[in-house]
């Protein structure tokens, strides 16, 4: 029997991997994928708790997160394309416009 703790530990692991990726990777596309990883880690947590409690609240939340992630991916990818077109690079170190 796989207990809830196991799911939670896995989710935490995946979340940390994603977070680490967001912090250290230079390619914006990879950073983006890491964010997806973090979102899915949280989904896993929701589902683990839903299974433990035996109701559907966690499922609903997971679907909601998936919907938000889809929207975020659509907008984010569009931004990335626009950035690539204007600058010719996706290196996150070269896109430091938030200072201005």
């Amino acid at each position: 029997m796989v207990s809830t703790e196991h799911y939670l530990f896995l989710a935490a692991l995946i979340f940390c991997v994603g977070m680490f990726g967001v912090m250290v990777r230079r390619n914006a596309l990879v950073v983006f994928m890491c964010i997806e990883l973090m979102l899915n880690a949280s989904n896993l947590t929701f589902l683990a708790f839903a299974r433990q409690r035996g109701d559907s609240m966690g499922h609903v939340s997971a679907f909601f997160v998936i919907a938000v992630a889809a929207a975020e991916a659509a907008i984010g990818l569009a931004i990335l394309i626009a950035v690539y077109r204007s600058r010719g690079t996706l290196n996150i170190q070269d896109i430091r416009t938030m200072k201005h």
């Binding site: 977070m19 967001v22 912090m23 250290v24 950073v31 996150i92 170190q93 896109i95 430091r96 416009t97 938030m98 200072k99 201005h100």
Partner: protein, 742 residues
Amino acid sequence: MVFSECIRHAPLLECLQKSPVDAQSMAQMAWLIIALPLAGAFICGVFGRMLGRANTNLIACAAVAGSFVFCVLAFWAVNDRATTLISPFSRDPIRYALGHDFGTWFAAGSFRVNFGLAVDHLSAVMIMVVTGVGLLIHVYSTSYMAHDEGYWRFFAYLNLFIAMMLTLVLADSLPLLFVGWEGVGLCSYLLIGFWYEDAAKAWAGRKAFIVNRIGDFGFLIGMFLLTLWVSAFQAQTDNATGQGRALEQWRAGVSEQGPLNLRGLEQVALRIAPSFAPMAGAVSLQTPIQSGPLEGNTFGQVLVAVLLLFMLGAAGKSAQLPLYIWLPDAMVGPTPVSALIHAATMVTAGVYLFCRIGSLLVLAPAAMAVIALVGAATALLAALIAFAQNDIKKVLAYSTVSQLGFMFMALGLGVYWAAIFHLVTHAFFKACLFLGAGSVMHGNADETDIRRLGGLRKEMPWTAATFLIASIAISGFILPLSGFFSKDAILHGVHSSQLAGYEWVSSAVWIGGLLTAFCTAFYIGRLYLLVFEGKRSPDAPVAHAHESDWPMIMPLAALAALSVVALIYGLPIIDVGDGRQTLIENYLSTVFNLPHQLARIHRTVSVEQEGLFGAWALAWVIALAGGGFACVLYLWYLPSRRGAPLPAPIRTLARWAANGFYLDQVYDFGIVRPIKFISFVLYKVIDSLLIDTLLVRGTAWITARVASAIRLLQTGDAQSYAAVMALAVLCAAGYAVIQVLK
């Protein structure tokens, strides 16, 4: 007395005594007296340049003339036997007075000031003098300022001055009086510095303004103290029972018109019990104040403080020691201004103030003694300085200071009517002298040094004649004219009055007055002789002086005539049972009976009747001696010694007197420089260092430094922001774990 019988029964006079305007409607129209010159000032000031010189002259003179007409009507109405004023402060109607309350001016809590104007015999005399002399001087100015580019400015200021002076005189409460007080000070400043392109003249204006501010500060503090004093009186009589309905009425008046109303203050003075015969529950001057900020002091002590603060104000405005120094410097203004503001009207405001609060003044013999002594000291000092002045206007300025000193002597010993009489005659003859001096300057290319004039009698016959009449009026040599009578009324009154507890003051002041009278005759004699008699000085700027035009001659003649005619008021022709009164004393008795009555009740001033003719003879002999001395000195002794230097001690004395006994320098060294030094230190330490550098620039500097340090955190690198967020989440998670484990 036959004359007074005539007055009573002559049909013409009978008819004249009936006023054409009834008192009630006159009182409601009283604001027009002020509004007309105010409107004139507005029109001249705003449209004067557009209207041109002739129209501006016309408007300025017409505004004052209109005001004069209203003043005549008010004077007439107030002299009507039927005229009575129902004051909210007392049940008894006040005879020979009219007034109207135009509603609340401002109110805060229980304190309130109403805008009310009142006319009684005292203010009626004053407004006649202000608008009458003012009108003559306006007419004179049209010719005197005929070549000045700033004519419109000049007439606007002059009209504004008349309006403010009338506000001062007509006000029925101290705060409104203070508005006029400040207004005339402002106009004085503007007109002294009228030719502001000349730095010395602009500075003289500032000096006058600042010295007056010192006095005004005293006036203001005095007014605040007086408010507290009145409310303490109110509170303490509240506690006492059985004070009667008169006090109830007064209290109702205070809640309706405020505590600083002049009629209300008179009522307070009336309700104070004599300190030697205390009544149960009544407040006397020895009663200590039980509550409020003045707690622990007696009513009498606070009253003396109030009156001395008012004296500081009056010393500033009326050029008394120690604040007289601005008046001689004020002579740099146009001569009509010197005549109107710095001789006839504004500088007498202090005298008027004390006459108005005369019923309070008689309760405080200590304050009276100070006022009398200051007056005597000022009169003597200024007369001595006038000896050695060589500027024709400076001599007259010091003479004005000296004559004002006379008026304060009279105030100090409670002889109010004599002070007012001297005020009126002084307004006539001193305005005449100043205008004469202006005429001399006009005809001699603005020369003011009397050593470079001389022999003008033949070239300027009208000016010389009027100047001579006014000189005789001020000094009384040759013939006793109006000034002789008014000055003698003061000396006589001073001599016959004694202040309780300060008996020596009377004789000290009297001797000072006699010496001053001698000096007056001397310096005026010197002035007249040097300017109009003898030979023309070889240094004279023009070979032949020309007589001035009629607009300048006419006021001179009118004022000279008035200086002569006013002597009628000094003759003791009214029979009042126990002795005779002069006309003016009898006329003003409607106002000054109350103070005299209070002085009798409280035994602060005791008056002994004594023969008048002996005093007249003495005063005349003294005036003759002074004038004669001047004649001998300047017609015979000095011309015969031309070229030979005077003995050394006399030269030293003359140098001291010419420099005003170095009082200006003493003030400069003792007061102005220390204040400048302290101000400099404060400026450098407090202002420049503490406020500017430390507080203002300091906060900006710290903010900038902190901001540039924090700016290092903002890299614009999204990953480092993410790292910070991750760190924060980690911390939060760690915190949560610790909390759970606990």
